[in-house]
Subunit: 399 residues, 2 copies
């Protein structure tokens, strides 16, 4: 038989692969290349200066001692002392749970993906905040579900509109929310809205997925407990990507026994477990109450950058531009005048040497937007000043 | 609103969760508990004595040096030097590929799961060897596809029956095969059958998933190149779980550019990447041509155990019992007389103090079987002698 060198298997691909488009990173790279030294406000990652590398390295050396028992296939829930640490830490945020209700995952990305595998199938619908984390939109899209965006205001999700959406869409199975220092808007959902959200979820019998990567990183304002503290049926996703490091791929999901059973079966048919040495490394790095002090250091560090960005915006933005004043997290959300589209702003700003994520990337329907997301986590105060000045110029050039 | 303590979300679970049953580990544990000191032939893991812990530990210490660049979100394909090592190593097995066509995964389990996400949806069918790896059956089942088992003989997959199955089932999209030292049967598919398999796959335009966890662990007989060496359209799954350690969760998939693009998008919506420190650890551990010598050590070690098991079977098995004589891998496949069902054998043997996997677990339809799988990888020669003697007694008790 002749070897068919031009044979393609692409017609065999599953329908779920149709949602995969060009990566946003291609677009980001192309925009960065428009300037010799662009100021980049696109990162969702922590500042490199804050990564506790020495602590992790020392913990890793200890994790390898007497490690033979960790090198087999092991426990799918993850390293027990780490799960116990997580359960204890969550108590400081008013979440009552047990180590057996914690599954360690490859970042909170995998936590969300596993939860989707347990709950979602074609024909279902999911409610998200509009705008919301674009990584979550990408995951949800592969489950071939309808994604219904509910508008937000300066305080986060509009719960009256949430109620309307639940009434209008009985096929909704899940509400996905980032109530605390939301990505991208930076809002912190007030307690009364959190309570209303869980009440509505109960009333309409839908699951709630609470994604909380930034909850520990609060710089000002009132502390509000996660939604999971109000209702133990909420699936809660956490991560060490923002407080320790993204590259270690350690996050977790908290769930009830009945959901955990399905999450564990899902784990068994996906990748069995996290790297077991790294789970022990993280558990050892967290010993002796390391995290609270480290979190305080992070807060002090990021507060300075947030304040610098807010001051620079105050100084540089022309009239008619609005922005959020986040009490935590990594992001400031800019609203441009209605005649400036964010994709045009993205192009023009790149010419001026400033790159960020246009707002339409966070819209489930990718509609034309007039918003942009600026991240301050990885940018020095000097570069913030420079970048925001450039952004001001860029805006004025098309105002 | 009243808090409904008894609320359940189970009616919201996706249909794919219906396939999750009781874990086989519950059954294994229950059978182990029937005897004070059972001989256990159930492991698919490598011998603990062979884990190169010192080498990995030293490599880990080096991986943490200058590690700041590895602690961000990073490259989804995985650590480039590790992908280059894999591409080079595969050349020794007659596979021509490039580092860009290698994706590092959380074991070969995740490689198979990602490949299923790219290709499979409800309504599709997959052909597997009957018997085949039960972990693969569990993964395939969650994709809600029809699983068609094709019979094997002493040399592996019957390719005439494969052709019949392809003709009879045009909805087949994928052939999943473990041609080399198959799990559970231990067979090594001859070259002419491998060629026939890829010819049939081309003719019927189906994808081939080649799972090759044991290919490096050959103890005797003719060396036969992987199916991927015959056709670069074959998706090839490999792992370090059998040669380094399972707990590090490092495997890989080799695929063409068009498939790799979809695998990478799948990675982005599942867990972004492997733990980056561990990928560098493995790459450093593999430097200076470590693996060939280590593999030789593994071969010599497992050959002794295989020979001990075959000799013990020769000595202890009553007439009417047949078994495979594997040239590699971890498993011997026993065929009992037709009046002894493997589930009954499983129960009786446990009383005599020997525990293994009954053959029906490897049958896609879980039909009554008369076969059992014995693993010798983690059992010392003394314990092999003891366990096989017990198995002989147990069989004679119900013959």
């Amino acid at each position: 038989m002749t070897h068919l060198a031009t044979r393609s298997l692409s017609d065999l691909f599953a329908d779920r692969t149709r949602v995969f488009g060009t990566s946003i990173w291609t677009d980001i790279l192309r925009h960065k290349e428009k300037h010799a030294d662009p100021a980049y406000f696109g990162d969702g990652a922590p500042a490199r200066e804050l990564l506790p590398i020495d602590r992790l390295r020392d913990a890793s050396a200890r994790a390898w001692e007497d490690s033979a028992g960790l090198l087999g296939y092991g426990d799918q829930k993850g390293y027990a002392p780490l799960r116990e640490w997580i359960a204890n830490h969550l108590r400081t945020r008013d979440i009552e749970t047990h180590a057996n209700n914690v599954l360690v995952t490859g970042g909170s990305t995998q936590a969300l993906d596993f939860a989707c595998r347990v709950f979602l199938q074609p024909g279902d619908a999911v409610i998200v905040e509009n705008p919301t984390f674009l990584g979550a939109l990408e995951i949800l899209n592969t489950y071939q579900v309808e994604i219904i965006g509910v508008d937000c205001d300066d305080h986060g999700l509009d719960v009256d509109k949430l109620q309307q959406a639940l009434i209008a869409n009985p096929q909704v199975k899940v509400i996905y929310t980032i109530p605390t220092f939301q990505n991208p808007s930076g809002t912190n959902l007030p307690l009364d809205r959190r309570q209303r959200l869980v009440d509505l979820a109960r009333e309409h019998h839908v699951a709630v997925f609470e994604d909380d990567p930034y909850g520990d990183l609060q710089y000002s304002g009132e502390v509000i407990a996660p939604i999971r503290a109000l209702d133990d049926q909420v699936l809660y996703f956490g991560t060490f990507s923002k407080t320790l490091a993204p590259g270690i791929r350690v996050g977790f999901v908290v769930a009830t026994d009945e959901v955990m059973e399905k999450l564990l079966s899902t784990r068994e048919v996906s990748d069995i477990s996290n790297d077991r040495i790294m789970m022990r490394t993280v558990a050892l790095a967290l010993e002796d109450d390391f995290l609270p002090g480290h979190i305080q250091e992070c807060r002090d560090f990021y507060r300075i950058r947030r304040d610098a960005m807010l001051a620079a915006l105050e100084r540089e933005m022309p009239e008619g531009i609005k922005w959020s004043k986040p009490d935590g997290g990594f992001f400031v959300w800019i609203t441009l005048p209605a005649h400036i589209d964010s994709d045009r702003m993205f192009d023009v700003a790149a010419e001026y040497g400033v790159v960020f994520f246009p707002g339409e990337w966070f819209d489930p329907d990718r509609e034309v937007s007039h918003t942009i997301r600026l991240s301050f986590s990885t940018v020095s105060v000097d570069r913030i000043d420079l970048g925001i000045a450039r952004l001001g110029e860029a805006i004025r050039s098309i105002l």
